[in-house]
Symmetry: D2
Subunit: 371 residues, 4 copies
């Protein structure tokens, strides 16, 4: 059992998810490398120490450069705010260390381009954290599509809808400032990644991005909201099909509306992350009288399921997605083989996001540059 | 019990539905006027006689002019192909007879404009058959919106998806020829009418209309498909909200995907005609722990339900929608009050359809002219 | 088009449903006999006249004997309270007239036995109104079972749950008095009939019948409830399978919980009348990864559907069930062939109900006598 | 951060689940004690070594006595076959070590009685692994019931249905031999525990337990199946309500049908483990027109949810349940406070199981002895 020393930058929301995943992954998957929790970096010595104790790291630091430089750290997991991604990743690659980076890849297209350049120049494993695409359900959908189970694809409709800013009385925060924290910058990378994984590249799009609640209460009165609340785009995929994507943080009632439906000439698929252990499949075969959408419960016959649960109907949850990511990152480091999704997949998301902003501003259909 | 003599043009698909509705409506609703089935017109004497016997009309004719002219016919129901709507309606109004016309209103925007002009010049009751908007469920949704149950509306997504031409091996027929028989001409009027009824007028749109299967098998080889298979449009409503509409006849697995979801600042609504007796309502009130989408079964507390069923959970079906239409048409004739939806609502649909075609051709956002 | 004169006894709840059905059935099904609405009987001249006008009968009467005796009445539909069923049916058969009787068959096992005797002695068509078993969905389930689609049956679970007396504050009425108006007398006949239609005879059962709310508010204080609120029974079918049935009028939240699930060695079926146009079918065949319950929407490929709607996804409702019953009654009169369900099916229900009461009283498993 | 040395007996199905949970629990919950994986016991040195490496234990052994005796082992988790539970637990308590034991509690009522006696004599923490009752969803239902959210309970229906032995062609294995491995011995403890947790003690019951497929293919021909395939029981709870429970391993199509519905005078609840992140709640309040079953997605407002996921809609899975159990076991050891569910809860299950067998044999209602 070979160990590998891990440095984790960030101990909050996603940092904790990765700390848990790194603790559990070896027992779940019997991975070739076992993570050794070496250093956790946070924004202050106090929070670093608090995270260190909570997650069981050997050492805490308030300086991510210190973490990257530590020889006991052999791979770096970035779970800090997106504005920090680029510098950390560049430093880690420069130090010869593989990097897993939470989505999105940096805070801008320029960041993402630089990060891909650094990663590819280094030749080191690089992975991005699009966890939702790694559920047994969505992995199964990818397999169905690859097998042609629903024939030629004619239509894709995706959405990522949540309601955490649906109430106009909610106050102004960091979430309502800066384009990178808006609906397109923060939520959209997940469904865009999913769409590209399922459908392949987008050739052109026409988008509409807008702020519904243009001011929110601040401590001394109304403050302007400077990023977007929801966005839609019509799409033409390079493969020929037409599609639509909707992203919203004002979708009252929706908690994790990461959902899609796909029409093909021989069938159709529906999925909604709010029922994450089900895939709905329609196949245009057999007698008309017995056709319908079949609710398939993910189980041992589906990707990555068995390692966790061993039994049908047991069901995977959010944390399991992060454990799957950890397994793949460790496997890539051990094998030297490419891992999916990589930084380049993170860059493809940014290119689509940028095109969408330009399209919304110009009210035009625009081509999406290839990655 | 005052009777009124009805002339029905067309005995096929929709003609039958109206014949049944006219037979049943008086017993269901105890209407002020009772329909007397006087004349049915069809395309040949044989079919007219067949329909006459099947539906219990006093007389059959192969000439709709004969029907319109018959003094025993006091109101005309048009259920013949859309290319015939205009001439029949104009003749009926000229003869001083109220008209119910199946959707769409004529075969073109020009037809629709002429029909509205004729109707309004006559001052006679005129009604159009958008039956789906008349379910207890969708009428209840209208009431919820009018009451502000979900606050200020921020997003509308609608669709009308069926799969009757999803299989590319299906042969060329009248359905695959002529713009009026395409997805935009034939299916779209229903969801457009629904959207306008729920959301009010559309200010501007950007549409994409396309033919997926450009040829289909004909008797002597492949034949060109000359109308559209599916279409999408991004919308800006005059009231400010953004929206999206998708219409398809190639949506494998969907049989009656007349569905919509609406987000508001205080709640959300979802509906799907494939479960036509349910409305899903989310209200952002009360403790977070007990919030969720509520599946409301239509029942005695909902519009128009009681007359049919008198009991909760009984459920209405397709035929009941047509009976509701008949009730409203008869009531309007008796009362002289305007009826909804009228020819003008049919015209509004055509204006949106035309704008969508222009937008798709020009790849531009375009304003929708007011009706 | 041969006509047949109909006499309808009762113009309330079910009387109206039959009046509408008789008005519409000829146009829907092009039946060999067309009903002519001759006489309606009610409890007073006023109500008879009111119903006559509302439903379009030629004549009203306050005396059902007058109706039965009228030579223009050629067949009798009984939709009056169950205590009146027996006398009316006996008189009608004595007069040589076919009878359709609403469920249950009389107010007691003794009534039911006498009614079957009278019907069978007369040799005339006799039919009982178990409408729910006549939906396209449940008729399709019968066909699936007959075809062996789910293999050998191993388990049946049925329920009929409503909530119209769930609130203990609801007052004492006729519904809370007399065994025949209780949950077993009034609701249970529907699901028992359904169960027998799907599963065949019951060999033995063990039941528990109880009154939850033993008093209810009356005009001058609490009044005793003298019939049952809910009941359950474990069952052994003559075919070998085990089962369970639950009936309740205190099932808060349930409006038409006429539902069942059936396990077989090769599949399973689920149905719930609250989604009356769907059948859920699981088949243990094909790859494990694509198995699941399929939601089949009733449509043209299913029994009796086409006549109403002609299109997939249109959906049938409560009224349509009554129209199907009318079709079958008229067809039986015309053809002289037996019709299903007959009075004998109504008797089988009563025998099971009586056995359940005895079992609940004695706390024993008891055999169910054959019908 | 105080550590505690854990000995785990069994490395298979449930052993792995506990190994993962023990690895992750500290990071998830920041528990007062952190587990140190000391010794794992298996049935052979080889498998012990394999599990040791896979799960990261310090030492493996083929002798559970060795594990219990090891001074570095401070608490014992039993995940070995039920026939071994009693001896291991008795030895552990004798050695002064707290015990977590997988369900069921031993292989018989006698085992369970002895294990409770040993646990309670020792005064040490003792916990049993009914994981399904620990989901955020079912914990939320317990809270709703405690708060009286649905009024006075009138009916409970539970089931635990799976299909792993639905196919009669499946061969004879250990699962089809010995009463303890049958449906009542192996599956029933979960739903019985759930029912008791939600509804309180059962006063009396009438059960029917049976083997559907009485022989199965063996290596040299048909072999007798010596335990039960499915079972049902009618129940009277000590609190007054009536209920029903069904357990099956032949429920074709069901993978984790751990489900229940509860009627109360003011509402109703439905849950199905196959959609484990949803609770359906009906409340008989507010206007009739907006009532219905609400699908509540578990989230931060629900028990134990936040620690894992921090975000609405993220969803918990099977593994998370085991982590919650580990948290509670560690907390009990640290605090000295009682933990739920305890061995006594395991004993209550066995008493109900035994009564059910006696009732099925005698075909009588029987009282359930208090625990």
């Amino acid at each position: 059992m070979t160990e590998i020393g891990i440095g984790l930058v960030g101990g909050g929301y996603m940092g904790k998810a990765h700390a848990v995943a790194l603790s559990a992954v070896g027992a779940v998957f019997d991975t070739p490398l076992r993570p050794r929790l070496e250093v956790i970096a946070a924004t202050s010595p106090d929070s670093a120490e608090r995270y260190r104790k909570a997650y069981g790291f050997a050492r805490g630091t308030a300086d991510w450069r210190d973490l990257v430089a530590d020889p006991r750290v052999q791979a770096v997991v970035i779970a800090s705010p997106q504005s920090t991604h680029r510098a950390i990743a560049e430093a880690a690659f420069a130090a010869g260390k593989p990097v897993f980076c939470e989505k999105p890849l940096g805070a801008s297209l320029e960041d993402a381009q630089a990060m891909v350049a650094a990663a590819e120049a280094s030749g080191l494993p690089n992975m991005i954290g699009f966890n939702y695409v790694r559920t047994p359900a969505t992995q199964f959908v990818r397999r169905l599509l690859a097998e042609g189970a629903i024939g030629e694809i004619t239509w894709f409709r995706g959405e990522h809808t949540e309601d955490f800013l649906a109430d106009p009385a909610l106050p102004s925060t960091w979430r309502t400032r800066d384009r990178a924290n808006g609906c397109m910058g923060d939520l959209a990378p997940h469904p865009i990644n999913c769409m590209l994984a399922l459908m392949g590249p987008v050739a052109e799009l026409s988008a509409r991005i807008e702020t519904i609640h243009t001011t929110r209460p601040g401590p001394t009165g109304p403050e302007a909201v400077t990023n977007d609340d929801h966005a839609q785009m019509m799409l033409r995929f390079a493969g020929g099909a037409m599609g639509h994507l909707y992203i919203s943080r004002t979708a009252t009632g929706r908690k994790m509306g990461y959902a899609y439906e796909i029409h093909g000439t021989k069938g159709a698929i529906r999925f909604d992350q709010e029922d994450q252990n089900s895939v709905w499949l329609y196949r245009a075969e057999g007698p008309e009288a017995t056709r319908g959408f079949t609710r398939i419960l993910t189980g041992p016959a589906h990707p990555d399921f068995l390692a966790f649960c061993q039994g049908p109907g047991h069901g995977t949850g959010y944390q399991d997605q992060i454990i799957i990511e950890a397994r793949d990152f460790l496997t890539a480091i051990h094998s030297g083989q490419p891992v999916w999704p990589s930084f380049r997949d993170g860059l493809a998301v940014w290119q689509l996001v940028e095109t969408a902003f330009q399209s919304s501003d110009s009210r035009q259909w625009l081509p999406v540059p290839p990655t």
